[in-house]
């Protein structure tokens, strides 16, 4: 069947504003959006910019907006989005990250935030002299969902909180912190307070579930964020300390009180 791809294009070297360009492509209903993009670059217009690699949803390169929703181009078939003969698809780059060219966005702030939560194993105790740490199947299951993350940035693009607070570390960073918080072998929250318990850390999340809705790996991200918040609160409470959220609330109350006094 013939379909039309309407692609938002922008090349900072030559363009002052983005504009949509349409391409006619011959596809099967079971073809991936990525197949059509590759057909364009290999046979029509080599200058179209996008990233791709594995082509089956495991490397995380080709997240983009497809008809307004964050999806992986290699995991979305034309039939999945109801495109039939003569139909069209709108394709745009991810949000909240600046466009480098066409569908390529600058992921560096996204990865910097990821690094800020120490997304690596911090052992609770020394490794056994030979062999593995023992971990029960139940303990292993506690953090399974978070290990599925492929860092594709779909959640980061979909998060409405980032519209108003661009400094929020975002769902992916917190998911990758959660990966370790609930691993029985890891030091957990203590090692990652610096990244999580700050005003732009875990607290700005408003549980709007957009991240969960778009995640191509079906990770219950909002749930993991809420569990992470709970873990931070528990840790602070255990030490008789306030969380960054509680301190901000206290400050606000004090300010309001003094305002009232002045009035």
């Amino acid at each position: 069947m013939r379909v039309i791809l309407s692609i938002k294009r922008f090349n900072p070297e030559t363009d002052s504003i983005p504009n949509f360009q349409t391409f006619m492509v011959k596809v099967e209903p079971t073809d991936r959006i990525l197949d059509a993009l590759m057909d364009i670059t290999q046979n029509q217009d080599g200058s179209l910019g996008y990233r791709r690699s594995c082509a089956h949803g495991v490397c995380g390169s080709d997240a983009m907006l497809i008809n307004g929703t964050e999806r992986l181009a290699c995991k979305t078939l034309f039939k999945d989005i109801g495109v039939t003969e003569g139909g069209s698809v709108r394709i745009e780059p991810l949000r909240h990250l600046s466009v480098q060219k066409d569908l390529m966005v600058d992921q560096s702030p996204f990865f910097e935030k990821f690094r800020s939560v120490k997304p690596y194993f911090v052992a609770r105790e020394d490794a056994p002299p030979r062999g593995e740490y023992v971990q029960s199947q139940k303990e292993r299951a506690l953090f399974d969902e978070a290990t599925k993350c492929i860092n594709c940035a779909a959640c980061y693009s979909a998060c409405p909180v980032l519209d108003k607070n661009p400094n929020f570390i975002g769902p992916m960073a917190i998911t990758n912190a959660a990966r370790f918080l609930f691993d029985s072998r890891d030091k957990g929250v203590e090692a990652r307070l610096e990244g999580l318990d700050t005003k732009d850390g875990v607290w700005p999340c408003e549980s709007l579930f957009e991240c969960t809705r778009v995640c191509p790996r079906d990770i219950p991200i909002t749930k993991l964020i809420n569990l992470t918040k709970r873990e931070v609160r528990k840790y602070r409470k255990g030490r008789g300390e306030l969380t960054a959220e509680e301190m901000a609330a206290d400050k606000k109350t004090t300010e309001e009180k003094s305002k009232e006094k002045r009035a």
């Binding site: 090349n11 900072p12 070297e13 030559t14 079971t30 590759m38 057909d39 670059t41 290999q42 046979n43 217009d45 080599g46 200058s47 910019g49 996008y50 990233r51 791709r52 690699s53 594995c54 082509a55 089956h56 949803g57 495991v58 490397c59 995380g60 390169s61 995991k75 078939l77 480098q100 060219k101 390529m104 992921q107 990865f111 690094r115 120490k118 997304p119 690596y120 194993f121 052992a123 490794a127 056994p128 030979r130 062999g131 593995e132 740490y133 023992v134 971990q135 029960s136 199947q137 303990e139 292993r140 953090f143 399974d144 290990t147 599925k148 492929i150 860092n151 370790f180 691993d183 072998r185």
Partner: protein, 576 residues
């Protein structure tokens, strides 16, 4: 721009990252990757990493080494296989100790499953050797190693494509790279360079490989005069998703999945009475193609793109969702098939290069005649050789962690004693000239048609079953495509983020490796492992128990050989 390092690692998959962690402990190290590291193809490996931990039942590294040798149809260097199997145990524990989330047994130890060709007591029956994390073991390895690199502050140059190797005689000076963001060339001066650029399955039409798997390292070395080893041996994995080639892990059969023909018959009973569906991949792929040729494929039209069934429906919902969740998802996404209820349509898919850059067990590039100082390779790009004529399932992950680690350790030692080479801006001139030519060519051809023809020629003529006539045709046709390649022009005249230039360079690499693969295959007049010839159906140890070394000589392939280490087990007929 010239950057100075002790060591440069090209490629950020499992082998490259492990090497960087080791070398980076003492040497000033940079990792150059054409992708963001977590996009590397190691992440697509599914079923597991083989190591004789013995968590489920008795197992020994010696049995693992023997299986590797036999699985490779005795073209494996046997001491290297021993090192592979012994180091595998250490590497798996090391990965676990660095946080890798393996699935667990009831007693809390690392879970292990059955896998093709892995046996106890030298072939008596299948053994639980594959350590796994559901069906995303590669993803976990890549993530764990990348996380460790963050922890250890490893320096990355992301989206830098390597374009030239700098050699002074047989000593490394560095590499030249192309930066995607700016389109500029960067020279990296280094005492040691490791190529860990992965495989090159994108030569073929139906492949499990990522688009990025274009063999950049081996191709650059071949053009620099380094011959490549055993390139005729390319593994076709028996179970790719029909038409797309997406991998369905052997772990499905490890968990009890069964291959069936159109009559619902478990045909592996005729081909491998002991190991059945868990025979090595070359045998299973041949069995499928034989069934198809006899009209017992699902369509029954005897065409090479017919398919068979892989049935896991009897395993039940819980096993499918727990042990092979990603496979279940691929099937639902791409096929509308629920593997807990219906069989999956599968066909062989180009999967793994047994051949590659010849190295010793420390990753040093060694052709048997020349050892290159400071030049290393590891992972799928390399040929140690531990896979011989056919790799066993799980041994690719073993290979990259064992030899990535060993190469990194050797590099750390080597650079301490090596004097600093000199590389300058002028070293980029050769690459610059090529770019200017590409950019200035008017009205040239697109990448697409040439790539498509290469895919079809390689799939059709250098596939599972081969004959002299068809391989010779493949050589001629690839030679022709290499000439036509010279007419390709870049349409995107911009400098920054010009992915088209990268794709053209990748196609050039694939064409060069296609030629070497077809040439090496046409030269070997026997059947061994993944190289199976209808006109020479038997293994011929008298004449062919030797490694091929194939060099690029203009538009032709030059052939030489190197002996195989058979010092432990005497070659025997291979039955399962």
């Amino acid at each position: 721009m010239v950057h100075e390092y002790d060591a440069v690692i090209v490629g950020a998959g499992g082998a490259g990252l492990y090497a960087a962690l080791e070398a980076g402990k003492t040497a000033k190290t940079a990792v150059i990757s054409k992708l963001y590291p977590q996009r590397s193809h190691t992440g697509a490996a599914q079923g597991g990493i083989g190591a004789a931990l013995g968590n489920v039942e008795e197992d020994t590294p010696e049995w693992h080494a023997f299986d590797t040798v036999k699985g490779g149809d005795y073209l494996v260097d046997q001491n290297a296989a021993k090192i592979l199997a012994e180091d595998a145990v250490r590497a798996v524990y090391d990965l676990e100790n660095r946080g890798l989330p393996f699935s667990r047994l009831e007693d809390g130890k690392i879970a292990q499953r059955l896998f093709g060709g892995h046996t106890h007591h030298f072939g008596e029956g299948p053994v639980h050797r594959s350590c796994y994390a559901a069906d995303r073991t590669g993803h976990m390895i890549l993530q764990t190693l990348y996380q460790q690199c963050i922890k250890n502050d490893v320096q990355f140059y992301n989206e830098f494509q390597v374009v030239d190797l700098l050699l002074e005689g047989t000593t490394v000076r560095g590499v030249v790279t192309f930066e995607l963001e700016t389109g500029e060339l960067h020279v990296f001066q280094a005492k040691a360079v490791l190529f860990a650029t992965g495989g090159f399955g994108r030569m073929f039409k139906i492949t499990s490989n990522a688009h990025a798997n274009t063999g950049d390292g081996p191709a650059i070395l071949a053009r620099a005069g380094v011959p490549l080893e055993d390139m005729e041996f390319f593994q076709f994995h028996p179970t790719g998703i029909r038409g797309m080639g997406i991998l369905i892990t052997e772990g499905v059969r490890g968990e009890g999945g069964i291959l069936k023909n159109r009559d619902g018959e478990r045909f592996m009973e005729h081909y491998a009475p002991t190991m059945l569906d868990l025979a090595p991949r070359d045998m299973v792929s041949r069995a499928i193609m034989t069934e198809i040729a006899a009209g017992r494929g699902v369509r029954g039209d005897k065409k090479i793109d017919d398919y068979v069934w892989l049935d896991a429906s009897h395993l039940g919902r819980e096993v499918v969702e727990k042990k092979i969740p990603d496979i279940a998802e691929f099937c639902r996404t791409y096929l509308d098939v629920d593997p807990a209820k219906e069989p999956m349509p599968v066909q062989p898919t180009a999967h793994y290069a047994m051949g590659g850059i010849p190295t010793d067990v420390d990753g040093r590039v060694d052709t048997g005649k020349v050892v290159y100082d400071g030049l290393y390779a590891a992972g799928e790009a390399a040929c140690v050789s531990v896979h011989g004529a056919n790799r066993l399932g799980t041994n690719s992950l073993v290979d990259l962690v064992v030899f990535g680690r060993r190469a990194g350790q050797h590099i750390a030692k080597y650079v301490k004693g090596a004097s600093a080479p000199k590389a300058t801006e002028a070293d980029a001139d050769h690459a610059r000239k090529r770019l200017v030519t590409l950019r200035n060519r008017e009205g040239g051809r697109h990448v697409g048609p040439i790539m498509q023809q290469m895919h079809e020629v390689m799939m059709d003529k250098v596939g599972v079953y081969r004959t002299q006539k068809r391989m010779d045709e493949a050589v001629t046709e690839i030679q022709k495509l290499r000439e036509e390649f010279k007419e390709i022009a870049v349409q995107d005249r911009g400098a920054g983020f010009n992915a088209e230039i990268l794709e053209i360079m990748e196609l050039e690499n694939l064409l060069d490796l296609s030629l070497i693969t077809a040439g090496s295959a046409a030269n070997r007049t026997e059947s061994r492992g993944a190289h199976s010839r209808e006109d020479f159906p038997d293994r011929d140890d008298d004449k062919w128990l030797k490694h091929t070394l194939a060099g690029l000589d203009g538009n032709a392939v030059s052939i030489d050989y190197k002996p195989v280490d058979v010092s432990i087990w005497k070659p025997k007929p291979r039955v399962y």
